[in-house]
């Protein structure tokens, strides 16, 4: 059993938009022998939009409070996130606090208000990096009990796990980890030229028709390349690409109905987990094409 300090984030909470990611991640970790120790009393990562009022520092301080709590509770351990937005926000905060002494000093002025301090040392990691670096491709392949043979999957990486930091060791323009994960489950990764394009998720509430046009292009690219299902590591991508298909069909006269799942759901299913373990009952666009492997 390998243990990691865990930051779930708001979208992974009960009944939130990525509840199925959280459920399938827990199932995946159980099979693999990972224990995720949630930070007690964590707060929102501030995502990348919490910059209203007081400049950039509140945003960095929010992550710093989580780091301080993680250190108090678990010592100098790796801090693992599953949400792309949380991981990006934490990664940026960690790097700036580590490498910019003035930022570190300012953050600590703020943390002192809460009788906390953080001087650096936390390593922020995406769960995908844990799977690749600490377990490796052979271990992931060895767990497969029901290979997803014949399933054609488009691996949609999106932006937050790709720019500006990216998953360790991956190319910015053509990251391959998601395709390798798809292949590790026995499925086929179709070519997907839009794999690092943005879904426009940040504007889905504010400029919805433009965001829908971006998602339309992502869906069309997947369909054109023969994909039966889209897989992503990002809760923002998953939500936008999945739930707006009806609206997109209305807006543009298209006829999309393609399931969008998390990598963790594919792993759980191929490793012999049930439909419920993989939280596939929580898809808005039903993933019936996966039913034959359940």
């Amino acid at each position: 059993m390998k243990e990691y300090t865990f930051f779930p984030g708001c979208s992974s909470e009960k009944n939130a938009s990525a509840a199925n990611m959280e459920h399938s991640v827990q199932a995946m970790c159980k099979i693999l022998g990972i224990q995720l120790n949630e930070i007690d009393d964590w707060n929102c990562c501030s995502a990348s939009i919490g910059y209203a009022g007081g400049g950039q520092l509140p945003r960095l301080s929010m992550s710093a409070r989580n780091f301080a709590l993680a250190q108090q509770q678990r010592g100098m351990t790796d801090l693992v996130a599953t949400c792309a937005a949380c991981w990006l926000a934490m990664r940026e905060a960690a790097e700036r606090i580590e490498h910019e002494p003035e930022v570190r000093a300012d953050v600590n002025v703020a943390l002192k208000e809460a009788n906390l301090s953080y001087e650096g040392g936390i390593k922020t990691r995406h769960l995908v990096e844990v799977l690749i670096e600490d377990f490796g491709w052979d271990a992931l392949r060895a767990k497969v009990k029901k290979p997803l043979t014949g399933l054609k999957v488009a691996g949609y990486v999106g932006c937050q796990t790709n720019r500006p930091f990216g998953i360790a060791g991956e190319s910015f323009e053509n990251p391959l980890y998601l395709d390798k994960m798809i292949e590790a489950t026995g499925a086929t990764a179709v070519p997907y030229p839009k794999k690092v394009a943005c879904c426009g998720g940040a504007l889905m509430f504010t400029e919805v028709e433009k965001s829908c046009a971006l998602v339309r292009d992502l869906l069309q690219c997947a369909v054109d390349n023969g994909a039966e299902v889209i897989v992503t590591p990002c809760p923002v991508c998953q939500l936008n690409v999945e739930v707006y298909q009806g609206k997109i069909n209305q807006l543009f006269g298209t006829n999309f109905n393609i399931p969008v799942v998390y990598y963790s759901q594919l792993f759980v299913l191929s490793w012999g987990g049930s439909w419920e373990d993989a939280a596939l009952n929580q898809q808005v666009v039903p993933a019936e094409v996966l039913r034959r492997f359940a």
């Binding site: 929102c44 939009i49 919490g50 300012d106 208000e113 426009g200 504007l203 509430f205």
Partner: protein, 325 residues
């Protein structure tokens, strides 16, 4: 020496004056470190004199030779063939998000009209400072490196679907003027930039940071412009309201409330328009309680916020100096 195949998008007008697009392939034997621009010149000189592209300085200063090279917009003069060849093939196409004139040449008029829209010159006015110290240059150093090549504009996610959006390069330039102590109309600029098609239309996908050949980081400038616009009170749009909703949730709950986020961004009527989407989510157990998890330490968060709001510490001005390439 390795042999490379150049797959070049040829765009030429037919007899009726309509632009027709096709791909044409050429092969060349080249050392790995040859630039794409040198390869193009060799092709034009020895194989096909009709290939049309822009070029001038050959030193990544003029920005003329920006084009799509193997899927991403880059300067042909700064790109070695080996770094962009995929199985020996290098694909060349004109920049995106701009009208194509011929082969690899686009009309850069729309791009520069956006630059002119943000008034790329200092204006007289009440906010003009009398003295300029060195630190004020440090924070705009990275944006002054922009060479107006248009790589970011060509790779911009939002430009794919929005003519109105000002685009990364022009917004980065706008940041340079908003941050210049000698500028007299900082607030008026922020007001204009906060309107439709301005700083709030960026998807923050960071593509511009990745594709910029001069490390300008336009998205960082856009994010700073948002913060400064809100500080000046330009908060009456869906973009700022969305940001404020996040901000207030964090203070109130220490957590983000997906239930009320939409309602506070687009208002009650807008939320009703989205009820269909919400219903789909509800059926799948994906609508959270309106009373979410509240961090036990939420009092800690409030005290942190109160301190920072009373004494805003400007992290921006502490940005490290960017060393020009």
């Amino acid at each position: 020496m390795p042999v490379y195949t150049f797959r070049i998008q040829r765009n030429q007008k037919n007899g009726q004056g309509v632009l027709e697009s096709r791909y044409q392939e050429y092969t060349l034997e080249l050392p790995e470190t040859t630039t794409v621009l040198n390869a193009l010149e060799e092709l034009k000189a020895d194989q096909d004199g009709t290939i049309t592209f822009r070029q001038s300085c050959r030193s990544a200063i003029c920005g003329s030779c920006a084009m799509k090279i193997s899927g991403r917009t880059r300067l042909a003069c700064k790109t070695h063939v080996e770094t962009v060849a995929r199985n020996g093939v290098i694909e060349l196409a004109p920049m995106a998000n701009q009208p194509v004139l011929k082969d690899l040449v686009v009309d850069i008029g729309p791009f520069f009209r956006k630059v002119h829209q943000i008034k790329p010159y200092l204006e007289e006015g009440p906010e003009k400072a009398a003295s300029v110290d060195r630190t004020s240059y440090d924070q705009v150093n990275h944006v002054t490196q922009c060479i107006m090549c248009g790589c970011c504009y060509s790779d911009c996610t939002m430009k794919e679907v929005s003519d109105e959006f000002i685009g990364p390069a022009a917004l980065a330039k706008a940041f340079r003027f908003v941050s210049d102590p000698r500028e007299g109309q900082k607030t008026a600029r922020l007001q204009e930039l906060s309107e439709a098609g301005g700083v709030w239309s960026c998807t923050r996908c960071a593509m511009c940071i990745d594709s910029c050949p001069k490390d300008v980081k336009p998205m960082e400038a856009i994010v700073k412009l948002r913060t400064r616009g809100m500080e000046k009170g330009f908060v009456d749009g869906p973009g700022p309201r969305h940001a404020l909703a996040f901000h207030q949730d964090i203070q109130k709950w220490g957590d983000l409330n997906e239930f009320t986020l939409l309602q506070r961004t687009v208002g009650i009527l807008g939320s009703i328009a989205e009820l269909g989407t919400a219903f789909h989510l509800l059926k799948r157990g994906k609508i959270p309680s309106p009373f979410p998890h509240q961090a036990k330490g939420v009092e800690q968060l409030r005290t942190i916020y109160q301190l920072l709001e009373k004494n805003p510490i400007d992290v921006e001005t502490k940005a490290k100096e960017v060393v020009p390439e």
